[in-house]
Symmetry: C2
Subunit: 346 residues, 2 copies
Amino acid sequence: MTEQMHHVALASRPDGAPTAENFRYEARPMPEPADGEVLVKVHYMSLDPYMRGRMDDADSYAKPVPVGGTMEGGAVGEVIASKSDRFKPGDFAFGMFGWASHGCLPANQLRKVNPAHGSITTSLGVLGMPGLTGWYGLTELGKPKAGETLVVAAATGPVGSMVGQIAKSRGLRVVGVAGGADKCKMAVETFGFDACLDHRAYATAKDLKAALKAECPDGIDIYFENVGGKVLAAVMPLMNNFGRIPICGMISWYNAGGLGAGAADADITGPNLWRTILVRFLSVNGFIISNHFDRMGDFLAEVGPKVASGEIAYVEDVAEGLENAPAAFMSMLKGGNMGKQIVKVA
Amino acid sequence: MTEQMHHVALASRPDGAPTAENFRYEARPMPEPADGEVLVKVHYMSLDPYMRGRMDDADSYAKPVPVGGTMEGGAVGEVIASKSDRFKPGDFAFGMFGWASHGCLPANQLRKVNPAHGSITTSLGVLGMPGLTGWYGLTELGKPKAGETLVVAAATGPVGSMVGQIAKSRGLRVVGVAGGADKCKMAVETFGFDACLDHRAYATAKDLKAALKAECPDGIDIYFENVGGKVLAAVMPLMNNFGRIPICGMISWYNAGGLGAGAADADITGPNLWRTILVRFLSVNGFIISNHFDRMGDFLAEVGPKVASGEIAYVEDVAEGLENAPAAFMSMLKGGNMGKQIVKVA
């Protein structure tokens, strides 16, 4: 078979922030589905911060992408060939097809997406892995209670906006942190946050802490950790007794091999961080959503109707063309996106 | 009333390790019980690492001892006067009498101790606050499962020895860390640990990590944190996915204002510590046992008979005389005690 598809390969491992040279857009032969497999033509693919971690050859919860291999990622598209009873051509499916124009996977690794229920792009964000991350982390590890105060950074991202909206619906005060006035406006006006602080407006963690303190007069009960760095350093001294910190990511540190912004702040260096966990009786829980995909059904049952009704809002930022995925990804890591970053592949 | 008692007052706040000048042994008038109160002649008092924290004027879960005030602490003794129906002269009671020869407290703040059930000193250690700390932290936050591996430092102390013995009884591999060959021998021979490492024999966290790795071939599932510093730095890289870290203290850091041994180790500075919590899906929980005294009844019901039968061992190190409490306390902070440190007051 001489038909071709395209993918973006990891050309080399980045040293710090990824550059264009770390990626290679190239053609390769179109796969053919084996028994039980399904071939999908990708319409939209997802860009997520975790992908930065996969580019490093470091100890983590997932294997790194090999040099020369397809960049990892979720995508949604139309079935164009199927050797499974579960899918037929014309069906839509979400799967980990990677940064690619087409993907071929066993049917049991795919999730059917019904375009009648709304845009298929929602399977990448608000009703996909990021939304599930926010919902699971908040409800299972954050244990929100009405009247409490929650802080979440990357407030307009697909995780942060889910966290904030679910927390609001449960009666919490919700304060976001985001990069730039536009994002802060979006957090309040589109996602209903009580307040949102622009971390770029505060030179130090100390300044950000003072501003957070003013917005959180009763302290912070839940800090949903998805960025690390300066925000973490600002939040830690404001945590209330019995506070909860679910940790799903640390985007601010991904590009610096573990030593990014705020790393030297006294409030989060080892002893002080550890001491705060002890003296405030905090519960700090790392999690990765792939260990909890069994909750996807519960999540979609609760949140799906709220997205359909508009009760839960979502914002997508769509880049055009698979060949532009690396640029969109590099921009996203610097906060250049407004809402969930997606690439329109076809 | 001209009758006198004695107490040890906080003469001044220490800068680093406490010295004799920080304490003052002095006489003061004997209190007289008001309605509902009980006057106790102290026989034994407890010395515990948390008392070091009370000497600082720092943000913590408890108010600091005021300069000039009685050093805080638990003690057990005989009722010599009572204006409560619940106690009569000759009864024995545990209470927070401080470092003092006598104490006067409301009856509802006292716990009756039955000398027929064993030495009254057990109310200070194995069947008191330290034992409850170990039992609660391990069972509620450590969530031990047979076949797992647990590490605990200060292995021969009253907390560590309880943690290790309960974990052994539930089928875990138990590896202790202690200071000195004598303590390591005691951990294995008296408390039944599978192994115990002398942290003094390892110059760096890296060396200690290598030794721990050899004793924990399947990694570490539970690290019961009560020391911080070098042990923490050695343990973190060995934690298994879904590991649990209950934190009840950090004695190695108490004397250095939060920047003690091991503080600069890369494995426990902010980003790396945070990253390990995320990528290994750890659950890190700070707790202080005074929030969980409602579990004392459950604890005594389960562990009391095991202490009486000898199934759970305990070791006490008894200093003589209230006036010698400061010296015994300073020695304990440096690891000079073998087992639970107690002072025989009368």
